[in-house]
């Protein structure tokens, strides 16, 4: 509507060019990695692959997929993401809502907020966490991957800031209409914060999807590893100077370079597809367009 002036049009073109260039810079390495994952071990090891596979083959993918563990671990991950994201989101909502109140209205909010913040700054390390997980009886179960991180404090703080920016009048109007806290939260706050919730949802999904360390430590058997933990185990991190016959025999077939590349795509593809889908919640102004101050 207001892009009619000439400098504005020049800016538009320049801007598009700049962002296009940035996007290209981001995508080229990925094409390269994709090409490597489909190349022969020898070509990849020699560093000959650029943006197109050399001696095209799918051996690396076969290697990763051939084990029955791939499918099992994918299911574990889906279970984890399903339950974990639901738990995280619910807790984020019900925790961020009270904390978004003014301190005049809810005096203890600041204490609560600091109580939570401290947990992202301090930690006792893996040994005591392991003991607690064991003592609470969730070792080896899917809850060991969910409960220790059930309250995503960073997201809570992010969301409470979004909540605070919502027009106060709406909330007050709701109260005057006799709505309680729960209905205010779910009828008014949630619908008005969809972009923020989509963002936090994405962070939560990505977080659960990518986590691998807790799976290796808290699950008692590789049968129960989530996908990223499983993928972590197939890259045998070799001490190159001291490789053994067995390592060498494996490496002859599939170089770890091609496998690492294949691993990235198998591990990240599902999550990459999620973002474009969520983007429809990021349309500027739609949610607040109807709110007049």
């Amino acid at each position: 509507m207001h892009y009619t002036t000439r400098p504005m049009r020049v800016f538009q073109w320049f801007n598009a060019f700049l962002l296009g260039l940035l996007a290209l810079l981001c995508v080229l390495p990925i094409i390269h990695i994709l090409a490597v994952s489909f190349s022969s071990s020898a070509a990849a090891t020699a560093g000959l692959v650029r943006f197109w596979p050399i001696d095209f083959n799918v051996k690396s993918y076969e290697f990763v997929l051939s084990s029955g563990l791939f499918l099992k671990s994918l299911l574990v991950t889906l279970e984890r993401v399903g339950i974990g994201v639901a738990v995280n989101m619910l807790l984020t909502l019900i925790t961020a809502y009270p904390l978004s109140k003014d301190s005049e209205r809810f005096k203890q909010r600041t204490i609560y907020t600091w109580f939570m913040l401290v947990t992202i700054l301090f930690s006792g390390g893996i040994v005591p966490l392991f003991m607690i997980v064991r003592e609470t009886g969730i070792m080896g179960s899917i809850w060991a991957l969910i409960l220790p991180g059930a309250v995503p404090v960073f997201n809570v703080i992010l969301l409470l800031n979004f909540f605070r920016n919502l027009p106060k009048e709406l909330e007050e109007a709701a109260f005057i209409d006799g709505a309680g806290h729960m209905s205010t939260l779910f009828r008014i706050f949630v619908p008005l914060s969809l972009p923020a919730l989509a963002t936090i949802g994405l962070l939560t999904v990505v977080n659960h999807w990518n986590a691998w360390f807790d799976g290796l430590i808290f699950m008692n058997s590789p049968d129960r590893y989530p996908l990223q933990s499983y993928l972590q185990t197939i890259i045998i991190q070799r001490d190159y100077s001291n490789m053994t016959e067995q390592d060498l025999k494996t490496m002859q077939l599939i170089s770890d370079r091609t496998i690492k590349s294949a691993q990235i795509f198998l591990g990240a593809l599902p999550i990459l597809l999620l973002y474009p889908f969520l983007q429809k919640y990021f349309v500027t102004g739609i949610t607040l367009g109807s709110v007049k101050e």
């Binding site: 960073f154 045998i236 490789m243 490496m251």
Partner: protein, 549 residues
């Protein structure tokens, strides 16, 4: 910010801690895994006598391997190996948990910290010592005395150091998981097609080697009319220089016995200075990749495979990787392994670490510690001595999965592959394969196919063939051309505390000298600084250990 995003589960601090801790694993990841049997005489089976009746159950924890697939219905506690343990000896196994090898140290540390120690498991050297100090381990001395001879000779094949390292205060508190450090000693791999091109013969002395390096750099051995080749491969952790250093009677990162009978740290000796000086010269003459400082071993391999480097020091197994990749890339390429050379009249010796992969420890109060030796005996018989192809495919490898990794206790023979080559070439000469096991036959077939023109099997011939690298290893063994690391216990207190500080200046100085960013005399400053940073105190600590060993 990303750390905050991901830091929901365990905070950044834990991540650091866990990284610090889990990264240790890279050291004991090497699992020498000979899957061939040897020419050792078949001995009578079941020599350990008795079977437990009623059967006993031993608890343990399990390391899982991505290459192992269990048959339908089989599990970690019910597979060909565990069934055999039960049939033979009446030993049942119960695994408390399994974890991937990469997290072994981390998870066993957590297990130890929570106090849930199983009847037996594979501990790291550090854990072994700490468990012993906490008085949590069973004395195995008596059980060892009555152990089958076959097991004793397996544990002693590489020398007595492995067993010695498992003794504390005169008591045998663990069974060492012996590795193959001597068989893995470095040799010089040289591109022989380049050697022909520059009209040089194989190296006998360090001078020969330096001439080859120069010729490979300046005489355009790849014939592309570009000055783009290097004489010697160097990686930024110097893992490809061990054999080179050894040629100057310099040894990297080990403890050697000095003339006064005391132990001294090898990397601060004057021989090291000489070797570094030569490397600096080579760097100045462009015989070393000017970008070696940012290239780790896998990046150096890239240069080798793409035909930019014609000589490198590495293990005898390099024929399969990475050299086979170079052979695949370049139809003219040809490599051969030669023994390391000396810079004077005294023959060079290869440095050899203790090479123990871990320690099999038994919880104090376990009723049947001798059961471990029975299981180890079965391992030796099936893995090393069996000639029956059927047993081979049942317990070792059925062509589909590495069944042998389902064992619950193992140790490796020190020179298995060296012996295998001798047997295979004998059979190749005579055509008589009656003495070969199923696994030997595999190697035999591959070499025959290679000789018939299949270059994709070149690497097998380069290792096990007549001119194979295992021949060089055999030569080393006969001459006993090894200098062993005298420090064969787990790191001492001061050493653990100071090593990062001391190693840092060592790596920095060596890199700077080779890179010609510092004069060679910087080495002397380094020695002084190293001592100041704790080197003197650590040396004292090591000698105290040595005296009271």
């Amino acid at each position: 910010m990303k750390r905050k995003f991901t830091g929901i589960l365990i905070g950044a601090i834990i991540a650091t801690l866990s990284l610090a801790a889990c990264a240790n694993n890279s050291n004991d990841k090497a699992s020498p895994s000979p899957s061939q049997t040897s020419d050792a005489p078949a001995s009578p089976t079941g020599s350990t006598g008795g079977k437990y009746d009623p059967p006993i159950t031993l608890t343990t924890v399990n390391q899982s391997h991505p290459t192992v697939k269990y048959a339908d219905g089989d599990t970690v506690d019910n597979n060909p190996w565990t069934r055999e343990y039960e049939d033979r000896y009446g030993i049942k196994i119960k695994s408390l948990w399994s974890v991937d090898a990469t997290q072994w140290e981390q998870k066993t540390n957590l297990m130890i910290a929570t106090g849930d120690i199983p009847d037996f498991f594979q501990a790291t050297p550090v854990q072994f010592k700490q468990l012993a100090e906490a008085d949590l381990l069973h004395d195995l001395s008596a059980a060892y005395d009555s152990a089958p001879e076959r097991v004793k000779s397996l544990l002693n094949e590489g020398g007595s150091a492995a067993l010695d390292s498992a003794k504390i205060g005169g008591k045998l508190l663990a069974i060492p998981f012996t590795g193959t450090p001597k068989e893995g000693a470095q040799m010089i791999w040289i591109r022989t097609d380049w050697l022909k091109k520059v009209n040089l013969s194989e190296p006998k002395t360090m001078d020969d080697l330096l001439k080859i390096s120069e010729a490979f750099t300046t005489q355009d051995p790849d014939g592309n009319n570009k000055n783009d080749t290097f004489g010697l491969a160097v990686d930024n952790a110097f893992s490809t220089l061990t054999g080179f250093f050894n040629g100057f009677h310099a040894y990297n990162n080990i403890w050697i016995k000095g003339q006064d009978g005391k132990l001294a740290y090898s990397s601060i000796q004057p021989e090291m200075k000489t070797a570094l000086g030569i490397l600096q010269e080579m760097f100045k003459n462009k015989q070393i990749d000017p970008e070696f400082g940012s290239k780790d071993f896998s990046k150096v391999i890239e240069s080798i495979v793409s035909g930019k480097i014609g000589m490198f020091f590495n293990s005898p197994f390099s024929g399969l990787y990475p050299l086979q990749q170079n052979i695949d890339q370049d139809p003219n390429a040809e490599w051969k392994a030669f023994p390391i050379v000396s810079n004077d009249a005294e023959p060079a010796k290869n440095q050899a670490a203790l090479g123990t992969i871990g320690y099999w420890v038994v919880k104090k109060g376990t009723k049947n510690p001798e059961a471990l030796f029975s299981m180890l005996d079965m391992w030796t018989e099936i893995f090393y001595e069996n000639k029956d192809p059927e047993i081979n495919s049942k317990f070792v490898n059925d062509g589909n999965t590495e069944i042998w990794q389902m064992n619950k206790i193992a140790a490796y023979r020190a020179f298995k592959n060296t012996d295998q080559r001798i047997k295979v070439i004998k059979a190749l000469d005579s055509g008589d394969t009656s003495d070969l096991t199923g696994d030997d036959m595999g190697v035999y077939d591959k070499i025959q196919k290679f000789e018939a023109g299949d270059r994709s099997l070149w690497g097998w011939n380069a290792i096990f063939g007549k001119d194979g690298s295992m021949g060089v290893t055999d030569q080393y063994r006969q001459l006993n051309a090894y200098l062993s690391d005298e420090f064969i216990t787990s790191p001492l207190t001061l050493m653990s505390e100071r090593s990062a500080d001391m190693n840092k200046i060592q790596l920095e100085t060596f890199t700077k000298i080779i890179f010609n960013a510092a004069p060679i005399d910087e080495f002397d400053k380094f020695v002084t600084e190293w001592k100041k940073r704790g080197g003197d105190a650590v040396t004292e600590e090591v000698n105290e250990w040595y005296a009271n060993r």
